[in-house]
Symmetry: C2
Subunit: 332 residues, 2 copies
């Protein structure tokens, strides 16, 4: 009661009167209500912490805050953890390894109970394994070789395979691909799918049709122009992330290429985008909600000290949606 | 050195040898380097904290993690604070007031040195003012009446005024507007701009042309259909946020309306979107980087106990970009 009075800035007598059902000024009522809520919250958090040595906080690290794919997943994770009483501290590292380590250390200094992270592709397994000895770590989107923690991935290889296969079924043989950075985990997987489907259908790969961007808008823009300016341009192009898909469409508008008559296109990741483009865009969508749910569920399980089936690796399926941006070739 | 050895999992002798320039195994080098970085970081943070009673941490609260407008601003803020040695804890509250208060209390329990927040429209000034007595608070995007802290806003009124004026200059008189929720701070301001320009040009307002959405995609989709199905539909429509702009374009595609021949459109907030739509979309863009910079600069100033010109209110200007989605009416 003393603390409430102090926080609310009213007398102890007023607090006592109010809490015992007496009549006090409306303004004081509000102040006291607020103080009770606030102190109650703090006491609860502290009491839980004392009892269990936990902070009831989970740290989340993602490469970029302005990447809708990651923030959609984080939003899902956060909501599920919140329902179980866990707060989250969200950090991003701008695809910068040094910053990534700093953020990881920052979270450790805040005594988080667990960490869910999208690691940079150059993150080393030793650091993660070390952290994972003290508290649960769940990786999302990218795996790290030799790491000993739970991982939730998209099946990029078969997502890419299926997308390119759809183009092959429609008669396309010169199929361009705009990949992410050559060393990048998801980029390597998506290129592998492209390679495999070419192999399985006995279609020779033309190196000129395989371009590497950096997963940013401008590289999508540049690479689609490079592809369309080839002496023998592709009849279809598969763009392997959302930002580069945006850039490709800018390039198509700039060159005034008619979709799908002059070029078939399959993009990536954003259902909304697919609906506002004309002709409607074919895309590969990743199961963002399912990724978030799986990661949250795994984290909550580990926080309860349930280490069954550790380390778990999930490979969730993408969905291929073929719309008007893809056409059937007559000669196919 | 003892701590480093312990953290790295090597002997003290090895650490000593390495730090004095001696030759040790590559693997040990890495372990020691990592331990030094990590311990150094923690020591620095703790030392700073002990000296100044500060945690060198700023809390950031936004309504939604999946809203690119907010995450772009936060990304800018975070980057600038980082350069001055401040870490950030980012929270979102899903436009839920109760959750907003919880997140605010969570940040206080983490002893942040300051808070930058986009408040919900129902946030009360007393709570903010109380928090602001103990530590600096900077509000972004939405003001709260009676609040006694720094605020960084967009000049929504004149942004909206200028956009609608562009339509009037091109001969439009029946101009529809899709607003945000009726009580919402930025929605009220954007409607005020629409009202004022109608008044200044002596154009009667038709209530049927003023629709209220909820700033989400689906309401933009629904309201543009409602507007275009009126007995006398508008010749131009102004959509007042990004998500509803997405929805409007879906509606336009669905109804197969030709832009700009059958309808002129001005949307909101996303330059990339403007470039991928065909015809290229006219938009009002808010100065996201400038908002982030101003908020970060104000926060750093207050953290240095410089309280000059407190409370500061900034009203930054939007930019109107007219592209091919707007046409001149012959009878204008």
């Amino acid at each position: 009661m003393k603390d409430v009075a102090k926080y609310a800035g009213v007398s102890i007598a007023t607090v006592s009167k109010y809490l015992n059902g007496g009549n006090v000024l409306d303004k004081n009522k509000e102040l006291i209500d607020e103080a009770v809520v606030k102190l109650d919250y703090q006491v609860n958090v502290m009491a839980r912490g004392l009892k269990t040595n936990e902070t009831m906080t989970v740290g989340i690290i993602i490469p970029s805050l302005t990447n809708l794919f990651f923030t959609t997943i984080v939003s899902k994770v956060e909501n599920l953890l919140l329902q179980k009483g866990y707060s989250t501290i969200i950090c991003d590292y701008r695809e910068d390894e040094k910053l990534e380590k700093e953020k990881l250390n920052f979270l450790l200094s805040k005594n988080v109970d667990g960490i869910i992270m999208v690691p940079s592709c150059s993150e080393d397994n030793e650091l993660i394994n070390k952290v994972n000895k003290d508290l649960p770590v769940v990786l999302i989107d990218r795996n790290i070789e030799g790491v000993n923690c739970d991982v939730v991935l998209t099946d990029n290889i078969n997502g890419s395979y299926d997308a390119v296969e759809q183009l092959i079924h429609r008669g396309h043989r010169r199929i361009g691909i705009i990949c992410g950075p050559e060393e990048h985990y998801t980029a390597v997987e998506r290129l592998t799918g492209y390679d495999r489907v070419h192999e399985d259908y006995n279609i020779a790969r033309d190196k000129d049709l395989i371009r590497f961007g950096d997963y940013q808008i401008e590289s999508g823009h540049q690479e689609i122009i490079n592809l369309m300016k080839l002496a023998e341009p592709p009849t279809a192009i598969f763009v392997t992330n959302y930002e580069m898909t945006l850039g490709s469409i800018m390039g198509i508008n700039e060159l005034d290429i008619k979709m799908p008559d002059e070029l078939s296109l399959i993009g990536y990741d954003n259902l909304q985008l697919a609906k506002i483009i004309k002709p409607s865009l074919s895309i590969v969508t990743q199961p963002m909600d399912e990724i978030g749910e799986t990661a949250a569920r795994l984290m909550l399980k580990r926080l309860k000290k349930d280490m069954s089936k550790h380390p778990a690796v999930y490979r969730l399926k993408s969905r291929i949606i073929i719309k008007d941006s893809v056409r059937k070739l007559n000669e196919g």
